[in-house]
Symmetry: C2
Subunit: 227 residues, 2 copies
DNA sequence: CGAGCGCGATTTGTATACAATAACCACGCA
DNA sequence: TGCGTGGTTATTGTATACAAATCGCGCTCG
């Protein structure tokens, strides 16, 4: 994507994730154009992408709002991500070269180092974690799978990127990654799939804990405002 | 989507699917604007959607081409679709109301009637088939799942919508749907998943047969033109 | 003869003006 | 008071002009 458009995308995304606008709040293209310093044309392109990633949503009359993720939304997202990423892990187990497996080890050493600092360096953890998962998805060698996962993975990492993680959460993640590397080294697709499954399901519960208790209600209407 | 934009989307899609432009051929936004009778702005929006659906692709330098689906692309797509749609069938089995199950029966009666004509009415079959699968996905009640599947399902149905199907293929599809309805009526998610799995895997082979033999080669470069 | 280079033509990207549509508010009427 | 209804403002959608990037081709120079 091109300069202005890409910039608008990053800026709007950062703006939304910074939390300076509340979930459910309306945004206008003009506003975003001013914030990003480009015209509405590239803003509209950026907004389309962010809609795709479900960070923004439109009302039935095309007005734009910051998306409001319920616990059920997050669970749904993690279920899909688990399904797809387990598949990716299984394929990756058959396809990763020795060099790629070594590279995963290096990535996870960095991740572990970030975790064992005190206090843990969460930003560095997140970046290493992202790179680790991305490497596996790339190795699965299924471009459409990668494309589908891109939408799912990006969204929630985002969701208030901060004090969700306890150090024990982070340590468990690092251990999961170690076990994944072991499964890859053994070329055991079933093992890799199983580890990835528990890894992501635990991640879901970490998020769910942060976002609040189970709702059992749908109640995720963005549009109708009646109480 | 808005009037011009929606029209451009439909027109470009039809244009590509009609086969009047060859796979791999370049398109320009101006061309498409002329064809569709709207300006480049809505054309660009439509093109974005079609890129998303993988009907169009961009070279590394942003030039636009008609996508060229290899057999491996089709297989990848069906594998993903199977994974997601089996999940949808399993969820649907737990959620479909008696009325919705009855509606599926009606849809499949229409599909069967289309199949049993001579010659079979393929267009009517395709439409009933689409509606049947869509109803299941809706009943799964997972909006993101629906969104992901939309991209996967649309693309290949498209791919030269015609003389791929023998009457026996069509009849088997109708029988699969009947069995799905039975699984739903029994509220048996495992059964539904299994039937959906074989249904889609068979569909893949029908497509694969039409598009040619297994390649074992990657060779799906859109950009580099050296022979 | 071939590899790099420059320049006109083509194509995509961005800004801006204007058109269409939807929300808002105030007013009048039952 | 409650509810339509008209006009006014805010917001999104489209067209168009222009800017930036890219391509293709012929040319020069080694």
């Amino acid at each position: 994507m091109s300069r202005a458009s890409e910039h608008a995308y990053a800026a709007i995304r950062a703006h939304v994730l910074s939390g300076t606008v509340a979930a459910g709040e309306q945004l206008t293209e003009d506003q975003l154009a001013q914030i990003t310093g480009v015209s509405r044309t590239p803003v509209r392109e950026a907004v389309r992408r962010l809609e795709d990633e479900l960070l923004l949503v439109r009302s039935d009359t095309k007005r734009l709002f910051v998306a409001d993720w319920s616990r059920d939304d997050i669970e749904e997202m993690f279920v899909l991500r688990q399904m797809l990423e387990c598949h990716a892990a299984e394929r990756a187990a058959k396809r990763l070269s020795r060099e790629q497996i070594a590279a995963l080890e290096v990535l996870n050493r960095d991740l572990t180092a970030a975790v064992e600092q005190s206090p843990p360096d969460v930003a560095r953890f997140l970046e290493a974690n992202r790179a680790f998962h991305e490497a596996i998805i790339d190795a699965a060698h299924s471009p459409r799978l990668g494309q589908l996962l891109a939408r799912l993975v990006e969204a929630p990492v985002v969701l208030r990127t901060a004090r969700i993680y306890s150090q024990s959460d982070l340590r468990q993640s690092a251990r999961d990654h170690d076990e994944l590397v072991a499964a890859f080294a053994a070329r055991d697709g079933d093992w890799a799939r199983a580890v990835m499954g528990s890894h992501l399901r635990r991640a879901f519960h970490t998020f769910a804990r942060a976002v609040g208790p189970k709702t059992d209600e749908a109640a995720n209407d963005q549009d109708s405002g009646e109480p």
